[in-house]
Symmetry: C2
Subunit: 345 residues, 2 copies
């Protein structure tokens, strides 16, 4: 990927929702722990940015997408204010937090499962209760069905809890297993290594810049000595000093080149990896969405199946008949239908 030098001040600083703790340009020069290089650029934590209003305007790599690859170039001081957190680490923490939240959701669902199992156990137990088991006739049938309906309800809730386990809890828990954290660690080390390399390259540049300045100073001194004729062999010395100065200039150019190559490599890896993390986050949100939808589907099913457990009770209550019950009971319990008559001699 090509590095661009454009810089869009409007978009980054006119937006009131721009809450990034320390956008590079907003730091007052007095507080900068930085090395200034000319007036158009600023190097912060060994990364070089254009100064506001300097250089060609930068367009977002993915305009209107709020892509990770566009918003995490600077580092940020951690809450303690001492160490700094790279933009990439902010992205990694988002991933770790997502993984954690997903685990917590699975835990929540697990608690729900336990509640359903307990409820089902209690309903099932009550449905076996002998209470009013001696009720007879159509009333007895309705009552028996009502008790049985508790067993059916228990089954519905047990089915709900089983499906919650296999279709919601497990997928939430197992989505991105242990490999995920290893993968994140790999990304982390890779980008951190590039930043270390960049720091070492930047130190090289600084050293070469210092050496060049020394050589230039030396050449300057020697040129002045020639002018006031304070020394012999000055012509030779100046030639030598000029050669060394040119060599130091070449050296600086090579160091700058190495630095810029490394920064470019880091830039490319940042773009590639942050887009990968962005994709992972979209997948996570969609995965969670899919399984929370499964949760509500199961809840709806549970309510529907629950409705149907009551219907047979309703039917038997509908066909209850006190006269029929009396007939059944009288047939079973009657003592005699011959009525008494007058006694006579």
């Amino acid at each position: 990927m090509m590095m661009e030098a454009s810089f869009d001040t409007e978009e980054s600083f006119d937006d009131p929702s721009c809450l990034a703790p320390q956008p590079p340009g907003s730091v007052s020069p007095a507080k900068r722990q930085i090395t200034e290089v000319k007036e158009t650029k600023i190097t912060i934590n060994c990364v070089t940015f254009p100064l506001p209003g300097e250089g060609p305007e930068q367009q977002l790599l993915k305009p209107n997408e709020w892509s990770y690859c566009d918003y995490f170039w600077a580092d940020r001081k951690d809450p303690q204010g001492a160490a700094h957190v790279t933009g990439f680490e902010v992205l990694l923490q988002k991933q770790l937090k997502g993984k954690q939240l997903q685990k917590e959701m699975a835990e929540f669902i697990h608690e729900r499962i336990k509640i359903e199992e307990e409820y089902a156990k209690n309903l099932s137990k009550l449905s076996l209760s002998p209470l009013a088991a001696q009720e007879e006739g159509t009333l007895g049938e309705a009552w028996t069905q009502l008790k049985k309906s508790l067993h059916d309800e228990a089954e519905v809730h047990l089915k709900f809890s089983n499906k919650l386990h296999t279709e919601v809890e497990k997928p939430l828990l197992t989505f991105r297993g242990d490999n995920f954290k290893k993968d994140l660690k790999k990304y982390d080390h890779h980008i951190a290594d590039l930043r270390k390399q960049l720091a070492s390259r930047f130190a090289g540049v600084e050293k070469a810049r210092k050496a060049l300045a020394d050589r230039q100073k030396d050449l300057e001194v020697k040129t002045q000595q020639l002018e006031v004729k304070l020394s012999n062999k000055t012509e030779e010395d100046i030639k030598k000093a000029r050669r060394k100065s040119t060599q130091a200039g070449d050296d600086l150019m090579r160091c700058l080149d190495l630095y810029n190559q490394t920064q470019s490599k880091w830039f490319e890896e940042m773009v590639t990896t942050s887009m990968e993390l962005e994709k992972l986050e979209v997948e996570r949100v969609e995965w969670v969405q899919q399984h929370l939808r499964q949760y509500t589907t199961l809840r709806h099913e549970t309510d529907m199946f629950n409705q149907s457990t009551v219907e047979p009770v309703d039917q038997l209550l509908q066909s209850m008949d006190p006269a029929k019950d009396r007939e059944l009971w009288v047939k079973e319990n009657k003592t005699g239908e011959v009525r008494p008559v007058d006694l006579d001699i």
Copy 2:
């Protein structure tokens, strides 16, 4: 009410469903613990019935209604075979059993209430759990609503349990309070007193019948003595004996009349009271039916209200958007959108 002497053999003995343990006419004469009075009637436990095939045919008082007043005239040996249980006591036991079953149903509903309360408590507690509370954006909103829906579910189940208490358990428990058993005792004593009175009247009849037999024997002896002239003053004696015999006959008639009056009184009270008990049983069955219907209505309501607790979750899951969530998160967490540029001299 008039006493009838009709006797319907077809209806009582040809009916295969006639399971009354000892219909009066089916007992073999050898086993009867009874006093036989002529050949057309039989007195069992001091109540007088026509013998099968004797007397005018009896029609049921309330044909096709299986009314209590038609089927509990005889007594029945209790399971131990010793004491006998009156038909009326069989009816009273049915009432007491009904009261007990109603109490057991209330107890069953009470257990259901406790299960609902426990379930609601657990759901409510879980809805307050901080699990995954840090989830952000549209996913965070959906998750928060999902957790809140557990609180709503808990409320639905709590409402169910409250309504079960006031609209099902309490009515079942309080229908026919302590007065009911007192009323039954009053009926019991009233009918039992009449049976005791009947027994005493029957003993009177037996005694008068014996006295008449003695007088008739005495008259017979004296008449024979007159024929063989074994004694003097026989004419006077015979007159006296005949007068006493006539007096004994009048006495028996008076005792029979008293017995029949008492039996008639008992009959009327049996009809009136058994019809009252029959009405009470119809009321009980209808009361229970009404409140079990209330139970199923509340169950249906609960399922319906439960459905509606999930709907806001469904809506928020529907409007979930990973891109929107990324935008929100990036705005809050971005570190800087100015991209690095090449460092130069």
